[in-house]
């Protein structure tokens, strides 16, 4: 029953404490307010007759009463995360569920099981769980708790209890149907603004993502050429007497520039690229959330229209309509609150990330 969960969303968004303005992934509650700490690490490869897959260790430490123990250690694979995400989406269609790293990156250079890919995915999974933990509503979700605490077999059996494939398909059909219908007639102004904003934001964030990757590539090419540049000076110094020292000095400096460039590149790939990518995914998610809200409203609107045409059976319809109206209002509020929260986070993330890039560049030039 989704109604109970939605009630919690009336709580105001958590204020950001100054102490949490640290220069890495930031989670909204200061360390004093947090009561759930999650880490994702230790990727391990499992080979069976049918497939090969990776599991990650999910370590949870908590002081919450609802948890039977204060520490849990479980192993999860990517499929499990996908399951969790879809459960959260079903339970809270108009809340902003954080993005999961993609299934498979068609970038040509990164193989499915390369160390680089696994590490990138691990970091993104870590972030995913922590974002959920920091969400005022999602953090108390039952499936989330099970995900963090259940042993492998417990989780499998719990998964099977979920809504059947058919009901999920039904949702998809309805979703397609409503999107075909186009713009919802009675959409509140606020949500139209959000839609417009997201369209532009999505465009821009995608561009930034591409730009950042391009910069990384150019820096890598520059680094490759610089690697050759230093040694030439050393070679030259071998034929000279008077200027040999100056040449060797320059060779040394060029090599140091190379190392500084490497650091700069590492900074980009560790901080900027993952965040931009996460927000590219977020923009897709948000468009989806806005659509779902429209859907819910669409249900209400079609029922209201039907009522207008059928004067009889008023009472029956009224009750249904009443319920739907409540649903729409709750959905709208949930979304609004979550939206504000998301925007604040985004702002913070962007600010810290780009500041970090600037600092990296400063360090680079200082070196």
């Amino acid at each position: 029953d989704t109604s109970l969960a939605e009630v919690n969303s009336f709580s105001p968004s958590v204020p950001i404490s100054p102490s949490s303005m640290i220069n890495h992934y930031k989670f909204e509650d200061g360390p004093e307010l947090r009561d759930l700490f999650i880490t994702v690490d230790d990727p391990e490869s499992h080979i069976t007759a049918i497939e090969t897959f990776i599991t990650y260790r999910v370590l949870t430490k908590t002081t919450r009463g609802e948890f039977d123990s204060s520490e849990y250690e479980v192993r999860r694979r990517y499929q499990d995360f996908l399951w969790l995400k879809s459960r959260l989406e079903e339970a809270h269609p108009t809340l902003i569920i954080p993005p999961l790293p993609e299934k498979f990156i068609m970038k040509g250079m990164v193989e499915r099981f390369s160390d680089e890919f696994i590490e990138t995915r691990r970091k993104a999974l870590h972030k995913f769980l922590n974002r959920i933990a920091d969400h005022p509503t999602l953090t108390f979700n039952e499936d989330f708790k099970i995900f963090l605490t259940a042993q492998a077999w417990e989780l499998s059996s719990h998964k099977k209890q979920g809504p059947g494939l058919l009901s999920r398909m039904g949702q998809t059909v309805r979703a397609v149907a409503s999107s075909v219908r186009g713009l919802v007639k009675n959409r509140p102004e606020m949500f139209t603004e959000m839609n417009n904003y997201m369209e532009t934001f999505s465009q821009k964030i995608n561009l930034l993502d591409k730009i950042a990757h391009r910069i990384y590539k150019e820096e890598r090419d520059y680094f490759n050429e610089m690697k050759e540049y230093g040694p030439i000076h050393t070679l030259w110094s071998a034929s000279e007497e008077d200027i040999a020292d100056s040449l060797k000095g320059i060779a040394g400096c060029i090599d140091r520039c190379c190392r500084a460039t490497e650091k700069r590149m590492a900074g980009l790939s560790e901080h900027l690229l993952p965040i931009l990518h996460e927000y590219v995914l977020y923009s897709e998610i948000l468009m989806g959330v806005l659509k779902r809200r429209d859907q819910i409203q669409g249900e209400l609107d079609s029922k209201v229209d039907a009522l207008a045409n059928k004067k009889t059976e008023k009472n029956l319809f009224s009750e249904e309509i009443g319920k739907l109206e409540d649903k729409v209002e709750r959905a709208n509020n949930a979304l609004k609150a979550d939206w504000d929260r998301w925007k604040e986070n985004m702002q913070w993330d962007m600010r810290s990330t780009f500041t970090n890039v600037a600092e990296n560049n400063l360090r680079y030039y200082e070196e």
């Binding site: 150019e218 490759n224 100056s246 030039y365």
Partner: protein
């Protein structure tokens, strides 16, 4: 050095102009002419300024001057001309000879050439050089009248031909080896530098895209808008700054290029010495064989096989008169040969002495110039980093206000 022309005269190549005209084959062509301005330096009177004289010369005339100097002073490391065609270009630079940046850099290179010649203790006194600077008409005829082309040894044109010298001068061999190494290492360095410049250009310019997107993004943001907008502006500044940086680096590249070509000039001196040594050895060899022939004829013993000897055995001996005549001719030739050998030896020793003096001078000049060039390169890099620090400090401030 007090006699140096450079001290008595201000020389500049101040302008470059595109011209069209008909060449030797009566075909219309476009070329660039350069304005050479000279003014005598009055060492005592301060108020008085001598008038500026000027004339126009094109690149081919500079080439003619240099060829003349190379042939006339084979023991001197003659300063090189700037490159004929743009080489070691990275993608933004044009390889076109008519490109204004190329013309400008060439103008500077030509001025540098003239100043180098004018400050050379030997070359600055040359009359043809003086006429090049001061006499517009009839200069070409003057040069050709010197007949220097006849002196030019065509054998030197074959760059890789080796002359088998039996007793090479070790110092010259080492020097030739050094000049080869220098050429190879500098050209490698210039090639990589061009590639590095290309890549650096790419890094800076892509940041310009940030500027555009930030600005567009800032339009939909409320609190973040200002920070984004101003950060974007700094990204634009950053992207634009690379143009000046790389232009300055081109000057550094030109300085290195000068010594790339100087290495060729150095090699040329070694080659001329090699050729001289070869001629000397050939002449000595020739003399020795003539002396041997003479001895054989005189004593009647045949120590070496010769066709003449065989034919005379087959067809009868020569008469004593014939033999006498032959001996006389040979003795004359031997006399000539010994004198020639003596003068060649003298020539050789003089060449080595004066060449080595100029080579020492060149070495000092090279070390001094290259050191300065390297220092200025380091200074350029520091300045580039300072600019980078400034831009990113500003950007950081904007970001933190988002």
């Amino acid at each position: 050095m007090e006699d140096c022309l450079a001290k008595k005269m201000e020389i500049t190549v101040s302008e470059a102009e595109k011209r069209t005209g008909r060449n030797a084959m009566n075909i219309q062509e476009t070329y660039t002419a350069y304005l050479i301005e000279t003014r005598a330096v009055e060492s005592q009177s301060e108020g008085q300024c001598a008038p500026v004289e000027s004339l126009w010369r094109r690149y081919s005339e500079f080439e003619l001057l240099r060829n003349y100097l190379s042939v006339t002073y084979p023991h001197i490391v003659v300063p090189p001309l700037p490159e004929k065609r743009a080489d070691f270009v990275w993608h933004k630079l044009s390889a076109d000879n008519m490109d204004p940046d190329f013309v400008e850099r060439r103008r500077i290179g030509l001025e540098n050439f003239l100043l180098r010649v004018a400050s050379h203790p030997v070359l600055c006194q040359d009359k043809i050089f003086y006429a090049f600077l001061t006499q517009e008409g009839g200069w070409k005829e003057m040069v050709n009248e010197t007949g220097f082309q006849l002196k030019a040894d065509s054998r030197l044109k074959a760059l890789n031909a080796t002359f088998r010298v039996k007793n090479p001068d070790k110092r010259f061999t080492e020097l030739k080896h050094y000049s080869d190494e220098l050429q190879s290492v500098i050209s490698h360095l210039l090639r990589v530098r061009a590639r590095v410049a290309d890549r650096l250009y790419g890094v800076y310019k892509v940041h310009g895209n940030y500027g555009r997107v930030f600005s567009e993004w800032s339009a939909i943001e409320k609190e973040m808008g200002d920070g984004l907008q101003s950060a974007g502006h700094h990204m634009d500044v950053y992207a634009a700054s690379i143009d000046d940086i790389l232009e300055e680096e081109e000057h550094y590249a030109d300085q290195l290029k000068e010594y790339l070509f100087y290495a060729e000039a150095l090699r040329a001196v070694c080659r001329k010495h090699e050729l001289m040594q070869y001629d000397l050895e050939m002449a000595a060899q020739d003399l020795t064989s003539k002396k041997q022939q003479c001895e054989e004829l005189a004593t009647g013993t045949v120590r070496t096989f010769s066709l003449k000897g065989m034919t005379s055995k087959l067809f009868g001996q020569e008469t004593p008169e014939q033999r006498e005549a032959k001996i006389k001719v040979l003795e004359e030739q031997i006399q000539e040969g010994e004198e020639q050998l003596k003068s060649k030896n003298l020539e050789g020793r003089d060449f080595v002495k004066s060449a080595w003096a100029d080579i020492e001078r060149f070495k000092e000049q090279k070390n001094h110039d290259l050191k300065e060039a390297l220092i200025s390169y380091a200074v350029m890099q520091i300045s580039m980093c300072k600019k980078g620090i400034q831009v990113w400090t500003n950007a950081k401030e904007c970001f933190s206000k988002m």
